[in-house]
Amino acid sequence: MSVAEKLRGLLLSTPAAGAGGRTGTWRVYRPVVNYSKCTKCGLCWLYCPENVIDWLEDKNVRINYDYCKGCGICADVCPVKAIDMVREGVV
């Protein structure tokens, strides 16, 4: 391997999900979308610090719980309070 190649993965990094770990395990509360209330405005997608919310083609939203940290920003910014923060482990 050349010197330049040896630097890859040590000095040089490439983009990947979970570079900070399996951050979904950090959660104490999980955001649950009440789709009957959701107006598909996309604000939760816009403000998510973890980029785990997808604002799909049809404007529905989908949360990736592998990495969601449960910060609650999505619930706080939702103009119609369509997202509930539910305690993890509680059925």
């Binding site: 050349s2 010197v3 330049a4 630097l7 993965g9 040590l10 000095l11 040089l12 990094s13 490439t14």
Partner: protein
């Protein structure tokens, strides 16, 4: 290795050391230059600015607000794929100390001229090697010139060495403040055309480039495991070892290009039949050679081992040259507080116990040492060894009497 190299057309000029370095920067077609003025480096940056203004060199000259910014800027330029250069001295070098380590471990090629100068207080613009030697742990390849021709040659070859795929480490070339930087000597300068065919433009992709639209790589975020970092240091060490061979290859080619053949890492003057070896770096090596001549006339079997590159440390050269010697005397124009001379401390480990050894601290603060004074110090060392057997003097402070 470049293809067939033939002897270049050369022009003889008379230049001060700083201007010779500027000339080399011009011929290397450096893309980005950034430096902060500090005596005795100022002539380098002024000449480069003039060259750019006159259109002789097409480059960006960035007028920065400090040496720290100067190195940061040329480092950025190198990370952005350009060939870059800076120059500094003593206090300025220390102001960029943090960036020196960062630049080296980032593995981007860079060249820096260090015009050696005493550190204060008290304020002093005269020559000492302590500043250049203080960066020897940083990962920079470190060379030092003996005369203006060599200052030019070492600056030019520095780009080829630094950018070599097997090296990818920044190179610092030292030249003695005022003694070389502001002293005019004749030198031969190869033509731009001939230099251009030997030294092509930098390949920005080696080892990587940070550019808009480029590969989405991140340089420098935390390693998942500290062992990664240890590995990187080991790779740096391997590159330093590679550098020994690369430096030899580059000077071999350079010899074909210019007719000037240097011992790549070290040169030994009258060592083949020497029983005593003096060791030094830099301009005063010329004065020590004068002393050697006189001692030889008096029958003393002595030679001078001149270190051209201190990093990578020329271990093999040193052990080979001192093999069989009765005594080694090292001249340090520097002082590592609490220990003694840096060269002496780095070399003493290679001196067998039955070999005489002396580390001389001289020229500190920039005072001149004449060939006759060198002769006196070396003679005393040899005489003492001959009389008493091997001696070990780690610190011999040579401080002449001051008039008035």
């Amino acid at each position: 290795m470049t293809g067939q190299i033939s002897l270049a057309k050369q022009v003889k000029k008379v230049l001060v050391g700083d201007h010779a370095v500027a000339e080399a920067v011009k011929l290397a077609r450096v893309n980005v230059i950034s430096a902060y003025p500090i005596t005795p480096q100022t002539l380098i940056v002024e000449r480069i600015s003039e060259m750019i203004e006159r259109g002789e060199l097409k480059a960006d000259y960035i007028r920065v607000e400090s040496e720290f910014a100067a190195l940061a800027t040329v480092y950025g330029a190198a990370a952005g794929g350009a060939r870059a250069f800076t120059a500094t001295s003593s206090h300025g070098l220390f102001y960029m100390y943090e960036m020196l380590w960062w630049a080296a471990a980032s593995r981007v090629p860079l060249v820096m001229a260090v015009v050696t100068r005493v550190l204060g207080p008290p304020w002093n613009i005269h020559d000492e090697h302590s500043d250049l030697l203080a960066i020897r742990d940083s990962g920079w390849i470190i060379g030092m010139a003996q005369n203006v021709q060599e200052a030019f040659d070492m600056t030019l070859t520095a780009f080829k060495i630094s950018e070599d795929e097997k090296v990818l480490l920044p190179v610092a070339i030292g030249l003695d403040g005022f003694i070389l930087s502001h002293t005019a000597e004749p030198l031969d300068i190869p033509s731009q055309e001939d230099v251009g065919s030997w030294l092509p433009p930098r390949n920005p992709r080696i080892p990587y480039t940070i550019e808009p639209g480029g590969e989405p790589i991140t340089m420098g975020n935390l390693p998942k495991n500290d062992v990664y970092h240890a590995l990187l240091k080991k790779y740096m060490d391997e590159s330093m070892e590679n550098a020994k061979k690369v430096i030899a290859e580059v000077y071999d080619e350079y010899g074909k290009l210019t007719g000037r053949n240097y011992g790549p890492l070290t040169e030994c003057y009258r060592c083949s039949d020497a029983k005593y070896i003096a060791v030094s770096m830099g301009a005063w090596s010329g004065d020590i050679m004068g002393a050697i001549e006189r001692l030889r006339d008096e029958g003393y079997p002595v030679g001078l081992l001149r270190i051209r590159y201190l990093r990578p440390f020329p271990e093999e050269d040193i052990t080979a040259w001192i093999n069989g010697a009765k005594g080694v005397i090292v001249f340090d124009r520097d002082y590592s507080a609490g220990l003694g001379g840096v060269l002496a401390s780095e070399i003493s480990g290679f001196i067998p116990s039955n070999v005489s050894f002396e580390g001389v601290l001289a020229g500190l603060g920039g005072f001149d040492v004449s060939p006759d004074e060198f002769r006196g110090i070396i003679k005393e060392f040899i005489d003492k060894t001959e009389r008493e057997g091997p001696i070990k003097i780690r610190k011999y402070w040579y401080i002449p009497k001051v008039e008035g």
